[in-house]
């Protein structure tokens, strides 16, 4: 087993080191890092905006580049949150707690330097986990029939919508909405049209890019426009020399970093608990273990490296179910999976055997990309810091162009551009009503496959709905679903969502929407 994984990895490095793949990985990392630094651009918006650039590419290059964009954007987001106290992506909210105080003390550079290092350690651990666990998982998953796949998807969808931020009921509603949106278009089995209202452009369904850019682009711009406080660049004067940590810093950061990594990798194994939860849990654990918990929040290096290591370790770990089962854990993974599907690749347990170049190439490129990021972030920090000062009034109109042309390029059709505007408006209404649109994407990507497997399971069982609890593996998944819902109701009745971590809770401004809007609450640049 281990031998097999290592030979796969060897092969993967061969794929990733092919010149054009290496180039695309570099481009992805660089552009992702650059866009991710910009305040208000989280990984979701960054990937959606850059997705159209990959249409003309080969699948391997495309996925390597998008993977690079994703973790590049995460590195960039950390810079934005530590120096400006602006968490563009929910996992970074915890980083702000101690990162921004450090910046105010003039130690922002050290925080950044150690963040880069901690992220690298976390990511490396996550990748190792991916190398050895994915093949095992695939072996199990290949035995699954349609009933098992169905219940597993149900579990993934439920976990993704209830464990994420916000009210669980609203999360489930968004997932159901996403599943429905996925059913728009021509029915695969009977060929009849559903919910197209006579528009032939909708026959192929709603365009994934239009949905993603509408929900995470336009809706987010509408949320942030004119609401953004002018960016305070008072503390952002950080150069390469400020990044070097002292020996004492290194010593203090070492164990928290590893603890964060372990917490993150454990969180990645539980379906639905993405990086956000991982970073929260890591921070809370660190505070509990610490000998002086009262100092957390005043600029402690432990409070920066621990959640960052945890986030990166869990993000890489999230690739395990995404690549080996075809079931994404959060919206970012759903988007990457959608990108694979656009390239004509069927996700699922057969992916590793059918397209070893994609899987192992991706794994190998993670290593390469993360090393590139360390090398990029240290010398280029001065440039990144300058980019923080780009005002929003230049940013969002330019992004609007990328949205329009990107959606147009998906099909070379202006219809989709109209689609994105409509979805954007709808997404903004949902945001204002307190919904989080991320589960929509999860439901949308999984929807068609869920329906297909559900139908097949019913056909095999001759219409017996109890097949899902009669088959043992499937019964386990269903039981987990029930436990998940039951525990949600239990905690709701006890009214105890608050015992998570009060300090952390206020920092994420509770469930404040991602992006710039989040800053309205925590960003009071105290002198």
């Amino acid at each position: 087993m281990i031998e097999q994984a290592l030979s796969g990895l060897w092969y993967g490095f061969g794929v990733a080191f092919e010149p054009h793949n290496l180039m695309w990985c570099f481009v992805g990392v660089l552009v992702g890092n650059m866009v991710g630094v910009l305040p208000g651009m989280g990984p979701l918006a960054t990937i959606s905006i850059l997705l159209p650039l990959t249409f003309g590419m080969k699948p391997v290059g495309a996925i390597l580049m998008l993977g690079g964009v994703m973790y590049g954007a995460q590195y960039g987001g950390a810079i934005c949150s530590i120096l400006l106290n602006l968490p563009c992506h929910p996992p970074h909210a915890v980083t702000c707690l101690d990162g921004f105080p450090m910046t105010k003390q003039g130690r922002g550079g050290v925080a950044l330097g150690l963040t880069v290092f901690a992220s690298f350690v976390g990511a490396s651990w996550g990748i190792t986990e991916m190398i050895f666990l994915s093949p095992i998982l695939v072996k199990v998953a290949l035995q699954f029939g349609p009933a098992e796949v169905c219940s597993l998807m149900l579990l993934g969808l439920l976990a993704g919508s209830t464990l994420a931020r916000g009210s669980p009921v609203k999360g489930v509603a968004m997932t159901v909405l996403g599943l429905f949106l996925g059913s728009v278009g021509t029915d695969l089995e009977t060929g009849s049209e559903r919910y197209t209202f006579g528009m032939t452009e909708l026959d192929d369904g709603i365009e994934l890019i239009a949905l993603a850019l509408g929900l995470f682009g336009i809706a987010e711009f509408m949320n942030s426009v004119n609401q953004v406080a002018p960016i305070n660049t008072k503390y952002t004067n950080v150069g390469i020399r400020d990044m070097r940590p002292t020996k004492a810093d290194m010593k203090r950061a070492f164990f928290p970093m590893w603890r964060g990594t372990i917490v993150g990798s454990l969180c990645a194994l539980i379906p639905g608990t993405g990086p956000t939860i991982a970073s929260f849990v890591a921070y809370a654990t660190e505070k509990k273990i610490s000998r002086h918990p009262e100092k957390f929040g005043t600029g402690l290096i432990e409070g920066v490296v621990c959640p960052e290591a945890s986030t990166h370790s869990s993000v890489q770990g999230d690739f395990i179910p995404t690549m080996s089962l075809g079931i994404p854990g959060d919206a970012v993974m759903a988007l990457l999976l959608g990108a694979l599907m656009i390239q004509g690749i069927v996700p699922g347990p057969q992916l590793i055997t059918q397209h070893p170049d994609i899987f192992w190439g991706l794994v190998a490129s993670f290593w390469i990309g993360n090393i590139m990021l360390v090398l990029l972030n240290v010398p280029l920090i001065g440039i990144w810091v300058k980019m923080l000062a780009i005002p929003y009034r230049f940013l969002y109109p330019s992004a609007m162009f990328f949205v329009c042309i990107g959606v147009y390029a998906a099909n070379n059709d202006f219809f989709q551009v109209g689609e994105v505007a409509v979805i954007g408006l709808f997404g903004y209404v949902l945001l204002r009503l307190g919904f989080h649109p991320a589960p929509i994407l999860l439901g949308f990507v999984l929807g068609p496959r869920f329906e297909e497997n559900f139908r097949r399971a019913m056909l095999i069982s001759r219409g017996d709905i109890f097949v899902f609890v009669e088959r043992p593996i499937s019964a386990v998944f269903i039981a987990l679903c029930v436990i998940l819902i039951g525990s949600q109701i239990y905690f709701r009745l006890r009214g105890a969502k608050a015992d998570l971590e009060p300090a952390a809770e206020t920092a994420v401004s509770g469930e404040a929407p991602t992006g710039l809007a989040a800053q309205r609450v925590p960003a009071t640049p105290a002198e």
Binding site: L433, G434, A518
Partner: protein, 173 residues
């Protein structure tokens, strides 16, 4: 005076409207879905799953709306920290003009892109979106639109070969 407070209360019931919207959406989905063939459990037709999802959405909508109406003393403490405008549907300072500009920007891209080509479409798209910002000046907006147009056309037309003519006259009429 009394009118304004009651209106504020109504707007304040954000979850009530959230649930209501889900209910209406679900109802629409289920009703339209029931016009497609549902089939049997063993041989499901195209209408089966969407109709079921619609019904589920209706139920979830009722649950969300009902939870907002039930007087929960602890609820405010739990939701109070959510920030981002609290329970109100409209943000503190509604940005009707900016919202209009952002939504008109793709429309402008469609119109100018289709009839005049990529460059005019890009310019119009950025120009209109940029007008939405309160602090923008005419000069700044024009410079920004020009810069994005030049870079955008170079990237998408020359480098990525998106098949949209750069400049044309009533292209697809």
């Amino acid at each position: 005076m009394r009118f304004s407070t009651s209106l504020r209360e109504l707007i304040g019931k954000r979850d009530f409207y959230a649930g209501g919207l889900m209910l209406l959406l679900g109802l629409g989905v289920a009703l339209k879905g029931s016009t497609y063939r549902a089939g049997t459990l063993m041989h499901m037709g195209p209408g089966f799953l969407p109709t079921a999802l619609g019904i589920l959405l209706v139920l979830l909508g009722i649950a969300i709306a009902a939870a907002s109406l039930a007087p929960e003393p602890d609820d405010h403490a739990a939701i109070g920290g959510h920030g981002g405008g609290g329970q109100s549907i409209l943000p503190e300072h509604p940005q009707w003009w900016a919202w209009f500009c952002i939504l008109m920007s793709p429309v402008a891209f469609i119109f100018f892109g289709r009839y005049f080509g990529m460059a005019p479409g890009t310019f119009a798209c950025v120009f209109i979106a940029a007008l939405g910002d309160k602090t923008s000046s005419w000069k700044g907006v024009i410079i920004l639109s020009t810069v994005v147009t030049v870079f955008g056309v170079a990237l998408f037309s020359y480098f990525l070969q998106v098949p949209l003519p750069i400049v044309t006259w009533r292209g697809e009429l």
